[in-house]
């Protein structure tokens, strides 16, 4: 809060929502957003309108591991379509869906600024780049191992 001038605490909304999402299972449920509103002394609608605007905030439950695969031009040129299809068939889910065990969610996203290292996806805080089918297999195994 001390990062902003007196009375401008609403500026903390985006960072607080990031923290809340991390804390509460990777998505923002209405009670969580209401709590954020109380915390920042703003109206709940001010939180909802922001949470629904930015694509990094998930308004529905997601799996423990969220695969956010880039599909924009430069990634497409380098085969992102194939990577997306491969993940779909390997995990047997569609885009926006979560595996029944609650481990994986597949999401397609627009340009993440890794065009030179395409195709790529975001997994948590990090980027996984130069994706191949083999790398996708390894990432899935790695996540399963971590979950156990």
């Amino acid at each position: 809060m001390k990062r902003y001038p007196e009375g401008k605490h609403k500026s903390a909304l985006l960072p607080v929502l990031h923290m809340a999402q991390e804390e509460f299972g990777g998505w923002l449920d209405t009670p969580v957003m209401d709590y954020v509103a109380t915390l920042l002394r703003i109206e709940p609608i001010e939180v909802y309108e922001v949470a629904s605007f930015y694509s990094m905030y998930n308004l529905k439950p997601v799996g423990k591991y969220l695969f956010e695969v880039c599909q924009t031009g430069p990634c497409m040129i380098n085969g992102s379509d194939d990577i997306i299809s491969y993940i779909k068939s390997k995990l047997n889910i569609g885009i926006g869906e979560t595996t029944p065990d609650g481990l994986f969610t597949l999401k397609t996203v627009e340009c993440l600024g890794a065009c030179g290292y395409a195709p790529m996806m975001q997994l948590g805080k990090t980027y996984r780049e130069h994706l191949t089918k083999e790398k996708v297999d390894a990432i899935i195994d790695e996540c399963r191992a971590k979950a156990n």
Partner: protein, 451 residues
């Protein structure tokens, strides 16, 4: 080999940390600048000819000189690190590997502008870079480059980081300011410009990462030395993000005198096209600038070699030229489909439209749907004209430039590759099995010169 100003020391081990950065001459520009009058620094930047590196190419010194300075009102410097233009990943590289260069440039710029609290607004997805920058800020603070009374000059400065949350539109400076205030990233109507009424209604300058980093060599070497590098109004060096069908994708610092051909084929840069494929097209400055077929890319309509700088890339206007933009250089080889590529870009702009202005909110969706239809072999001839009509009606009719950015790639694709669109319509089954290929796009060009 191009002279490097920003990435000169990128290969030195440990340059990310303060100790090595300082030993290699880091923070010299702060020592020098804090002895100067702030107005003289602004003049120096003006004389350097530095143009905004975010995409618009507006002269930085001039932007700085517009900053209002009412008595008793805080002024802010905000660094735009919301890098999201498809094809662009240069700021990420700079922040990840030489974070202190940005911090150093920001301290000098904050001093020149009279900003005691400056912000870096970084795209939310660059989460690990946020940690790197936080660490660099902390190191700078511990060593007396930030905080109260820097170098005993009486100048106070703090730099804070703010993460975005996945919205391309927040790269637009007024949307960025809205977002920094904790709101949706809806661009504001200008005027008033941020220089008068920006962050929390205070005078504000928003500059790109690379622009602020370039302040360091300008102060260290002087405006004249900086302006000597490059050509015409393209002074200094430019970071290019090279991607697509090339052998060596990555970040290259160029001095803007080299030719496009050299940039693509020289081993010093992109290293040519993989698997012996031929060049078909290129988007030279980030996804929103016009795509050019190989022939117009390498040579201007006048028959001159096209160079990697602001003027030469724009030579011929939108009829036969393109733009430097953000320096996101996307190369497409003969196997790429222009319709599909354009569709992904239209989908991108549809997804990223903030929804404030109807022409953009509705138009981007229409363009995406029509392009999908053509790409899927279900297009009709009249769809191509409809597409042209829609983009015309978006361009210039929106509050912010996202509308233009969405319209230009579609316009250029139809302008230069109309026959490929028509081929999709005429060959609905075949277009699902194979691409149109290189066709005539690399043939010598004959453009009638208007009298």
């Amino acid at each position: 080999m191009s002279r490097k100003l920003l990435l000169e020391k990128e290969h030195i081990a440990g340059i990310r940390g303060y100790e090595v950065y300082r030993r290699e001459g880091g923070y010299r520009s702060v020592e020098k600048a804090l002895k100067m009058a702030p107005a003289d620094i602004v003049e120096e930047v003006k004389r350097s000819g530095l143009r905004g590196r975010g995409g618009a190419g507006f002269p930085t010194g001039m932007k700085w000189s517009f900053l209002a300075k009412p008595e008793g009102v805080a002024r802010y410097l905000v660094c735009n690190a919301d890098e999201s233009e498809p094809g662009t990943f240069k700021d990420r590289y700079l922040m990840e590997f030489i974070p202190h260069l940005l911090i150093e440039g920001m301290i000098v710029s904050s001093f020149a502008l009279g900003s005691n609290v400056s912000y870096i607004y970084i795209r939310g997805e660059y989460a690990w870079i946020t940690d790197i920058l936080e660490n660099a800020i902390e190191e700078a603070k511990q060593n007396g480059w930030l905080g109260k009374n820097i170098l005993g000059t009486g100048f106070d400065c703090e730099i804070y980081l703010q993460r975005g949350a996945g919205a391309y539109i927040c790269g637009e400076e007024t949307a960025l300011i809205e977002s920094l205030e904790g709101k949706r990233g809806n661009p504001r109507i200008k005027p008033p410009f941020p220089a008068v009424k920006g962050l929390w209604d205070c005078p504000t300058v928003v500059n790109n990462v690379e622009t602020l980093a370039a302040i360091v060599p300008i102060i260290n070497e002087g405006a004249e030395a900086y302006a000597k590098i490059g050509v015409g109004k393209s002074t200094g060096t430019k970071l290019m993000s090279a991607c697509g069908n090339i052998n060596k994708p990555g970040i290259y610092e160029i001095d803007m005198t080299i030719s496009v051909e050299e940039f693509i084929y020289s081993d010093e840069y992109c290293g040519g096209i993989p698997n012996g494929k031929k060049l078909k097209a290129c988007i030279p400055g980030g996804s929103s600038v016009p795509i050019l077929p190989a022939n117009l890319l390498l040579t201007t309509a006048k028959g001159d070699k096209r160079l990697m700088n602001y003027e030469s890339l724009a030579d011929g206007g939108f009829a036969t030229g393109s733009m430097m933009g953000s320096g996101g250089f996307i190369v497409l080889d003969e196997d790429q489909c222009i319709v599909r590529n354009t569709m992904t870009l239209a989908r991108f702009y549809h997804h990223e439209s903030c929804g404030q202005c109807s022409p953009c909110r509705e138009g981007t969706g229409w363009m995406e749907r029509i392009l999908k239809k053509i790409d899927n072999g279900r297009g009709e001839m009249k769809d191509i004209d409809l597409l042209w009509d829609i983009q015309r009606k978006i361009e210039g009719n929106t509050i912010c430039p996202l509308g233009d950015a969405a319209a230009w790639p579609v316009a250029a694709a139809i302008r230069h590759f109309r026959d490929e669109f028509e081929w999709h319509v005429l060959n609905p089954d075949e277009c699902l099995k194979r691409n149109y290929g290189l066709a005539h796009y690399a043939d010598p060009v004959h453009v009638p010169v208007m009298a």
